[in-house]
């Protein structure tokens, strides 16, 4: 079964607005990662947050992690048309298995 589940499955906003995507998972993790996938391309790593961290920033990206609720969120501020992509969360190191397990992704559309 999938470990991470993103919510919403699709999100459409106006350029300049903030976009928030959520990820829930089921079991203990060592880290959680967010990736972006543009149409027809491979996934690109955005941020890795470890289980002992609560928040992390990278440019216009902010990731939070709540291990008590087994959830994470990705916030993109001041969105741009170029942010249009699918965003995936991936959980690592759960149940002793050293592999990343991906959710189904959130399709984000930024309207100009």
């Amino acid at each position: 079964s999938q470990q991470g589940e993103e919510d919403p499955q699709a999100l459409s906003i106006q350029e300049g607005e903030n976009a928030t995507m959520n990820c829930s998972y089921k079991t203990s993790i060592n880290n959680l990662q967010w990736y972006r996938q543009n149409s027809g391309r491979g996934l690109v790593h955005l941020i890795l947050i470890r289980s002992n961290e609560r928040e992390k920033h990278s440019g216009r990206l902010r990731v939070t992690l709540d291990t008590s609720k087994k959830s994470s969120s990705l916030l993109i501020t001041a969105s741009r048309a170029a942010d249009t992509a699918s965003y995936f969360c991936a959980t690592g190191g759960f149940q002793g298995a050293q592999k990343l397990v991906f959710g189904q992704g959130t399709r984000l559309t930024i309207n100009p």
Partner: protein
């Protein structure tokens, strides 16, 4: 220079044929992976190699056989292709277990 490169980008073939996908990384990583992304965008791990040794072998039909001639290369050979094998196959590498992945641009496999 492309960090993780895989060829071919597109592969169209008939049912029953045998095909191979090649992957090379120039990042000096010890760990390489094959992921399969289906039409609903689910990304699922198939295999993982660490220093040419098979570490993860998910529930994949034995028609799929990975081969790692050295730690910079991980190829995927598929025998007796079936319609259900149609998907995008991604190669990836990482410095260590559970760390961020670097993805290739994917191979779109279409079985007719």
């Amino acid at each position: 220079d492309t960090a993780v490169s895989q060829t071919p980008k597109y592969l169209v073939t008939q049912m029953g044929n045998d095909k191979s996908i090649k992957c090379e990384q120039n990042l000096g990583h010890d760990t390489m992976y094959w992921y399969k992304q289906d039409s609903k965008k689910f990304l699922k791990i198939m295999f993982s190699y660490n220093n040419k040794e098979l570490i993860i072998n998910e529930t994949v039909p034995n028609r799929f056989s990975p081969k790692s001639p050295d730690k910079a290369h991980l190829n995927l050979h598929i025998n007796s292709l079936e319609l259900g094998d149609s998907a995008v196959y991604f190669c990836a590498s990482s410095q260590g277990w559970g760390e961020k992945l670097f993805f290739g641009s994917g191979t779109q496999l279409s079985v007719l």
